[in-house]
Amino acid sequence: MSPAIIVVCVLGGLLLVAPGLIWVERRLLAVWQDRYGPNRAGPLGLLVVLADTLKLFFKEDWIPPFADKKVFVMAPAIVVITVLMSFVIVPFSPGFIVVDLNIGLLFFLAMSSMGAYSIILGGWASNNKYSLLGAMRGAAQMISYEVFMGLSLMGVVLITGSFSLHDIVEAQRNMWFVVPQFLGFVIFLIAGIAETHRLPFDIPEAESELIAGFHSEYSGMKFGMFFVGEYIGIMLISCMVTCLFFGGWLGPAFLPPIVWFILKMFAFIALFILLRASLPRPRYDQLMEFGWKILLPLSLLNVMVTAAIILWNENPQ
């Protein structure tokens, strides 16, 4: 397949599925809260997606007079751009990958970290107390999880010997990395939730205490961009977990590889929503403490033990 077709497929697929996740999330949340969720518009309430999107388009797109206009407009674009850029290196099935970078994993880490700028800039440009508080929390959260997020993946890289996601998936033919790298998986999952600012780590947003945190001043499609960015972020982290720890597209042959990939991805999206349905939000100093004092040493230990075992296997005394 030519790269142009793949780019169009990935981009179109993502932008179509991202609003669909609104419906998935609302239905699943409802299921876990003994409700039905949106079930009126269209079959199973699916048209609620269309209604939501149309509503966002027709909302007044207002820039507060006290805001820093250029930065205010730029911030929502950054989150979408960085998250979409990260998808460049995700291998959906053998050959169905936009570009198989040999530093794929590093590219993903770099791009997803850039997403933090949209929160900080958006909160700063809004010129509003709560937005700034949210932005500050976003920054604090970012420096606490970003370190062990990278470190938690080093075990996988050590075993594979490559940063390319294609190679990482291929290396899991015998055993998914979730078995030898279980600690790494748990740490990466926690970091991934923090990365996408999902509950329970939606500290920069924190509806109940900061109204909506960094995007309280946003309306219309600019708010929609933050929303889309968040949902694509969920998909990105689900894709990464699938690729890195659950064998990507690998699976029994009765289903095509891409279907296995999508099934696994949606399982993790459902897990994200289950987390939202069940867990309360920690204070942001608690998250920082948890990150620096528990998860960082654990991920370092994980890297050391993995490296030691690999060395031992290569030249046993």
């Binding site: 299921v31 876990w32 809260q33 003994d34 409700r35 039905y36 289950l274 987390l275 349905a277 069940s278 867990l279």
Partner: protein, 171 residues
């Protein structure tokens, strides 16, 4: 850590619980018998209007949504010339029902009063008056009021005594 996983598991199990939602237009919730919904004006057993236009409901109304004008027919029986309730103001507190001395104004368990035009929420007397005695069947105010009215003079009603002859009370 264990408690987090337990929480998630218990939340997951809610998938198999019974839904709490009542799918409203198809299913209706069971309303309590004393539900305070739409306001109606009831009639007495002879199908006469119970309302005597005393203005107590309008006075009791905390949001001033009731307005009426009392008048009398040729027999001296009072009734409202117009009776208007603005339901876009009404808070369904039921004070009008409590204030009413003749059980005329009553709140019934009907809440489906949605309108597309706000003006339609203003109910006139013909919208409010129903052909029913409401919650107090058999009650007929003028039969127990001790008032001389068409076909009945003082002391002829139910539970009424003959008017006292004031001259007999002299010491």
């Amino acid at each position: 850590m264990f408690s987090i996983i337990r929480t998630m598991w218990l939340t997951f199990l809610h998938m198999f619980h019974k839904r709490d939602t009542i799918q409203y237009p198809e299913e209706k919730a069971a309303l309590p018998a004393r539900w305070r919904g739409r306001i109606v004006l009831t009639r007495d057993p002879d199908m006469g209007e119970r309302c005597v236009g005393c203005y107590l409901c309008a006075a009791a109304c905390p949001v001033d949504c009731i307005s009426l004008q009392a008048t009398e027919d040729e027999h001296g029986r009072r009734y409202p010339a117009f009776f208007r309730i603005n339901f876009s103001r009404c808070i369904f507190c039921g004070y009008c029902e409590e204030a009413c001395p003749t059980y005329a104004i009553q709140l019934i368990p009907d809440f489906e009063m949605g309108e597309y035009v706000r003006q339609n929420l203003v109910y006139e007397k013909e919208d409010l008056l129903i052909n029913s005695q409401g919650k107090y069947p058999g009650y007929n105010y003028y039969k127990v009021a001790g008032l001389a009215i068409d076909g009945k003079s003082k002391g002829e009603g139910d539970n009424e005594l003959e008017p006292v002859d004031v001259h007999s009370l002299l010491p």
